[in-house]
Structure formats: structure tokens, C-alpha cells
């Protein structure tokens, strides 16, 4: 069972903080599902429910100028990296107040201020980016770490192997965090990998790799801290396989024909939030009123965020063709799309284009 029970709670205040972080992600996404069902937000929506201990544990170990690369199931990563719930929800509303001004949506959250580099919907597409961010740090002599989250489905892509090889070959400061939730959409790991031991694959590239209980936030944090410290002090790339499970369907369109309900129920017994909550309560570190206060705080944060998103302004169609190319100060706003007198401007006229 969980090392949570074995190691006890060394620091009640810190444990409470981790509990709060996981609950923030849970509540944000429960709200996303509600808003999706109400047709307030659209597109693909992939929630992280059940996997919160991974993002909560890893993010805890990062410094403000480290970089984070994530996948399309990244609301939790964005939130715990410091992007506000309001900016995340406003993005899903397609509002100007969204963290990408409505151009990214649920799958493509970005934030320069917190060095959050997405939000990549191609399963292994973020891995080479993480390698490059780490390369830039290495070449510039900066002691920064780049953390790259990806699912176990990405392990089947060539970019996974190319990235492992490059990172190890060049000894780059990157931490790969494989969120192994056992299913790539509906394809079980055993049906997609000849060798399903993912940490072993990484070790094959001469990368220090461990498998970690991804439902145990303390175990995740401890492993991540050890790995991040090693990466930061010049130990080259490290790899964590975080064994977790998503309680909900792959997306809102997924009928979940590929797994038994009983399997989901069995994993839900190890819900990372209840697990930490239970241990804290058993140790007398989480009085009922503290837990109630925590829930109320988080609920209040999320409802404020919904209000912020709800009252936002739709990103104007007149801005549609911005950010295809950079605005350049020296030539009066050349954009190649909206600024030059292109004959075919149907794409630039928004509403007129139908």
C-alpha cells in the first residue's frame, strides 16, 4: 500500500497545502465538466481527475524560472504552475481574458509568466521542445530545470525515443514525467507496448529512471525532489514513471467501452485526495472544521474564477489574424496575414468570411 501510511505526515502544514492543491485541480475540472455539459465551453475536454497527485507533487519541487511542458490534459499543470483558474476558464470560453486569448482552448494552455509551454495535443510533440528548452539553459549556463509531462501513449511515438536519446547524449537538464494512466485513449498499455515497463525503456537510454506510485502525492513529491535536485546540479536528464489512473473518460466523447467499471472503482479506492485526507485525519492532523474550511476556500476560488470567465469579453474577430506572425516595431505591424495587402483576405475578415 501507499508509502503515505508508512512515512506518516512529517509536516502537517505542508500536507494541507498539497491537499489543497489537489482539491483545486479536482474542483476546477468538476466545474469544467459542468460547464461543458451546459455548453458554455466546447471543443475537446480532457480531465485529470484521479491523477492530481502527479502534478501536485512535481510542481511543488520547481523554482519560478524552471520550465514546464505538458500535454492536452493540462488544466491541473497550468493551475498548479500558477496560471489562475480564471484565466484557464476564460480561455475555454474563448474570451480575451483567457491565458491564450481564446486561441488555444482546453488543450493548448500557455503562460509566459510562469514559463508554462503548453498544452500540446500531439502526444509526444512536447518532448523535443523540452529537450530544446533544456539545451538553451545548458548553453546559456543557467541552472534551470525543464519538466516535461506526457502520457504513456507517447512512449510509442518516435519523438519519445529521439528525445530520450538526445537528452541523454547531451546530458541536458530535463526531467521527464511519464503519467502512466494505463490507457492511451482506449488502448491499454499492454496492447500497445511490447515492453510495458516504461522506466526500463528510459533506463535503456542511460537515463536515471524510477517508477513511482502516482496516487501518493508525498511519494511523487519525494521522488520529484530527488530527481529535480539531481537534474539541477548537473546530473543530466532524469525520468519518473508515475503510475496513476484517470477516473473519468478520455474525453467528453468517450463512452469507455474499453475498460470494466469494476477496474475504475478499484482504482477510485486509491483516490489521491481521499488517501492523503484519510492519513491526515487518522494522524489527527485534519480536524473536520479545517477540512470544511479548505473545501470552502477552494469552492470560493473556483466560483470566483467562473464569474471572471463568464463576465469576460469574447476575443474580437478583428484580432483574429494577430499572432500568426509577430508584430514588428520597425515596419508598422507587418503580420503577413492581416497587415500586408494580401488579395485573399477572407480569413482575415472574420464574420464576413462566414
Amino acid at each position: 500500500m501507499s508509502s503515505l501510511r508508512n512515512q506518516g505526515i512529517p509536516d502537517a502544514e505542508h500536507a494541507l497545502h498539497l491537499l489543497r492543491q489537489m482539491l483545486r485541480v479536482r474542483r476546477l475540472e468538476e466545474k469544467c465538466i459542468e460547464l461543458y455539459s451546459a455548453a458554455k465551453i466546447r471543443g475537446f475536454l480532457h480531465v485529470y481527475i484521479g491523477e492530481e497527485a502527479v502534478a501536485a507533487g512535481v510542481m511543488e519541487t520547481l523554482a519560478p524560472d524552471d520550465a514546464v511542458v505538458a500535454t492536452y490534459r493540462e488544466h491541473g499543470h497550468a493551475l498548479l504552475r500558477g496560471v489562475s483558474a480564471g484565466a484557464i476558464l476564460a480561455e475555454m470560453y474563448g474570451h480575451a481574458e483567457g491565458c491564450c486569448r481564446g486561441r488555444g482552448g482546453s488543450m493548448h494552455l500557455f503562460d509566459a509568466a510562469t514559463r508554462f509551454y503548453g498544452g500540446n495535443a500531439i502526444v509526444a510533440g512536447g518532448l523535443p521542445l523540452a529537450v530544446g528548452l533544456a539545451l538553451a539553459d545548458r548553453m546559456a549556463g543557467r541552472q534551470r530545470v525543464t519538466v516535461c509531462f506526457f502520457g504513456e501513449g507517447a512512449v510509442a511515438e518516435g519523438e519519445f525515443h529521439e528525445s530520450m536519446n538526445l537528452a541523454a547524449l547531451w546530458q541536458l537538464p530535463v526531467l521527464f514525467c511519464c503519467e502512466n494512466n494505463l490507457y492511451a485513449m482506449g488502448t491499454a498499455l499492454g496492447r500497445s507496448e511490447s515492453q510495458p515497463d516504461i522506466a526500463l525503456k528510459a533506463a535503456g537510454y542511460e537515463i536515471s529512471a524510477w517508477a513511482v506510485d502516482g496516487m501518493d502525492v508525498l511519494a511523487v513529491e519525494e521522488a520529484a525532489r530527488r530527481a529535480v535536485d539531481a537534474v539541477r546540479s548537473g546530473g543530466g536528464p532524469h525520468f519518473l514513471e508515475l503510475r496513476t489512473y484517470r477516473f473519468r473518460a478520455h474525453s467528453m466523447f468517450d463512452p469507455e467501452l474499453y475498460r470494466e467499471k469494476s477496474e475504475v472503482v478499484r482504482w477510485m479506492e486509491r483516490d489521491p485526495i481521499s488517501l492523503l485526507q484519510g492519513v491526515m485525519q487518522a494522524a489527527g492532523e485534519l480536524p473536520a472544521e479545517e477540512w470544511d474550511r479548505l473545501k470552502a476556500d477552494v469552492d470560493s476560488e473556483i466560483s470566483t474564477a467562473v464569474g471572471f470567465a463568464e463576465n469576460g469579453t469574447p476575443e474580437p474577430v478583428s484580432e483574429l489574424t494577430r499572432f500568426v506572425y509577430s508584430d514588428r516595431p520597425d515596419d508598422g505591424g507587418y503580420t503577413g496575414a492581416g497587415g500586408t495587402p494580401e488579395p485573399d483576405t477572407t480569413a482575415g475578415k472574420g464574420g464576413a468570411a462566414g
Binding site: C99, L129, A140, N165, L166, R322, V324
Partner: protein, 334 residues
């Protein structure tokens, strides 16, 4: 100064590396081998293995790493041996480099330069000979350059590195040995405008013997050759070198067509869905009433480029085919 296209490229690289310490070159065999086309020969000794960085044969990995390094504040120049191999990196180029600025709502620039060879004519078979720059020119967010002259080979790289957005430079393999004079102080060049490489001189035999030849990259020398021979036949031509396939400078093309009233587009890519199709369409959309004849196109035949010399030659645009198209355009083909 006497130089070659290859040496001009190298001079551009050296210059960029000296001027900006964030610039580094990365790709297959760029270091110890000296570059597949010897463009980077000697640069490893000059700048060291950190900045002249050999990569494994993993196009998606190292192009993606270049994009990440650009996000991280570097100014990477990534070399891919040929455009054919760049297809292994399409995900990174199209799904990341071209989209990150937009998807992030303007937060993340990708100031990467990706260089690669393109084109046929050296009997290398289909998987080393295609001209796919027109495909890349389809993608919003990318800037597509095709240096066709020594000055552009020398100067485009620096301009490209000043661009905050991803720039792809296509170097036609047949141009590397092209030799000629280049000014000693040659430097950065404009990459926003097409160039008029030859101006019709009004010496056509009769009214109506003028036309605009439009091309770029590896076919420019051939088109200039054809233009000389056409002049001997009394056909007077403007020759336009597009230089930048995206964003396309249609003005220079349209201005010329407004004067000559005829156009022939020469493109080593295949005709269907090509950059020549785009240029032809723009002329029809914007200069239809200036035209005295249908727009002609000279493209590669629609086959994978074959190995055998006579077959390869027959598949590619040639001086003869350009001249025949020009004669048709001016109604001088009998």
C-alpha cells in the same frame, strides 16, 4: 570578390555566429563531416562542438529541440540534409513552430531558422530530389525563403535570424557550385520583396512581344538563360525572382504583368497544388484584365523524380520548355 554560393552561405553563417553568441548551428553532419554539402566546412574548428552541433539522424527530435531552444532564448540554425528528410520533422515544424505564437495568444515566439536543400538535377532519385517548399508555403506562421543568387545566399540568413518567427530557407542543390562576383561588403538583404532580375527593355520586335517570367531558387539561372535566348528572338522579358514564397510579394509580380500583359511561371515543384498554382491564381484574381494571354506554367512532370539522367532531365523544367511556353504566351509558336 570571387566566390561560390556554398562559400557565400558559409560566410553568412560565420558572420551570424560571430555577431550573436546565441546563434548556433545544429544538424546531421554539420560538424566533423563539414556539412553534407560542405556549407559548414571549417566552422567546427572555428566555433567548437557546442555551437556547431552534430545530431543523430532524428529529424523530429533535433528540429523540435531547435524550436525548444528558440523558445528558451537561443537563435538556432537547424540544417536538414534535404527537404525530403524534413518530412520526418513535419510535426514539429507545422504543429509547433508555425502554431505556438498564435496558440499562445502572442506569448511565445519561435525565432528558429531551418535550412535545407531542395530540388533535383543530380541523379539522386526520388527520395533526394523533390521540391516541396511550395507545401511549406501553404502554412501560416512560417516564412519561406529561396535564395537564388550569391548575394541572397550571403545575406538572407542574417535577415532571417532577425525575424522573430520561424524561417525556412531552401537551398537548391544545384546552386552550391555556382560561382561569381560578390561585393566585399555584401550583407543582410531584404526578405520581404521579390526582385526583378531582368527588366524588359522595350526592344520587342512588335507590340505585344513582352512577358513576365516568374521563378525562384534553382530555376532562376535557367530562366535568365531562356530570357537571353528569347531576346534573340525578339521576345522581351521581365524576370522576377520571388525570393520569398511566404509571405508572397504579389505586388512586384502584378506590377510587371501590368506592363507586359503576359506571364509564365517556372517552378520545379509539381503543377498540381503548387506555388505556381498560387501565383497563377493571384494573377488571375488581381490582374485578369491586364492579361493578353492565359498564364503559362512550366513545372516538373507529375512523377517522382527518376534516377536515369535522360528521364530526370525530361521530368524537369528546361530552357527549351520555358522558351516554348514564352512563345505560346506571345502567340509566336507558329
Amino acid at each position: 570578390m570571387k566566390t561560390t554560393y556554398r562559400e557565400a552561405m558559409r560566410a553568412g553563417l560565420r558572420d551570424a555566429m560571430q555577431r550573436d553568441e546565441r546563434v548556433f548551428l545544429m544538424g546531421e553532419d554539420v560538424g566533423r563531416y563539414g556539412g553534407s554539402f560542405a556549407v559548414s566546412l571549417g566552422l567546427l574548428e572555428e566555433f567548437g562542438p557546442e555551437r556547431i552541433r552534430d545530431t543523430p539522424l532524428s529529424e523530429s527530435g533535433f528540429v523540435g529541440a531547435g524550436i525548444g531552444a528558440a523558445l528558451g532564448g537561443m537563435r538556432p540554425v537547424v540544417e536538414i540534409m534535404t527537404v525530403n528528410f524534413s518530412l520526418l520533422a513535419l510535426d514539429q515544424i507545422i504543429n509547433n513552430a508555425a502554431t505556438l505564437l498564435h496558440m499562445s495568444g502572442g506569448q511565445f515566439n519561435v525565432p528558429i531558422v531551418i535550412r535545407m536543400t531542395t530540388g533535383a538535377g543530380r541523379q539522386l532519385g526520388a527520395q533526394h530530389s523533390h521540391s516541396l517548399e511550395g507545401w511549406y508555403a501553404h502554412i501560416p506562421g512560417l516564412r519561406i525563403l529561396a535564395p537564388a543568387t550569391l548575394a541572397d545566399a550571403r545575406g538572407m540568413l542574417w535577415t532571417a535570424l532577425q525575424d522573430p518567427d520561424p524561417v525556412l530557407i531552401f537551398e537548391h542543390g544545384s546552386l552550391y557550385n555556382m560561382a561569381g562576383e560578390l561585393d566585399d561588403d555584401a550583407g543582410a538583404v531584404d526578405i520581404d520583396k521579390a526582385a526583378v532580375r531582368r527588366q524588359a527593355d522595350g526592344q520587342g520586335h512588335r507590340n505585344g512581344d513582352t512577358l513576365t517570367l516568374i521563378t525562384y531558387g534553382g530555376t532562376l539561372p535557367m530562366v535568365l538563360d531562356a530570357a537571353d535566348q528569347l531576346a534573340g528572338e525578339g521576345i522581351d522579358t521581365d524576370v522576377i525572382d520571388l525570393r520569398t514564397l511566404r509571405p508572397l510579394d504579389a505586388h512586384t509580380v502584378l506590377d510587371s504583368v501590368a506592363r507586359t500583359h503576359r506571364a509564365v511561371v517556372v517552378d520545379e515543384g509539381w503543377r498540381s497544388g503548387s506555388i505556381s498554382a498560387e501565383i497563377s491564381a493571384r494573377i488571375c484574381e488581381q490582374a485578369f484584365f491586364d492579361l493578353d494571354a492565359p498564364v503559362e506554367r512550366v513545372c516538373s512532370l507529375e512523377v517522382p523524380i527518376p534516377y536515369a539522367k535522360h528521364l530526370e532531365e525530361a521530368a524537369l523544367p528546361s530552357v527549351e520548355r520555358v522558351m516554348a511556353a514564352a512563345r505560346r504566351a506571345v502567340g509566336a509558336d507558329g
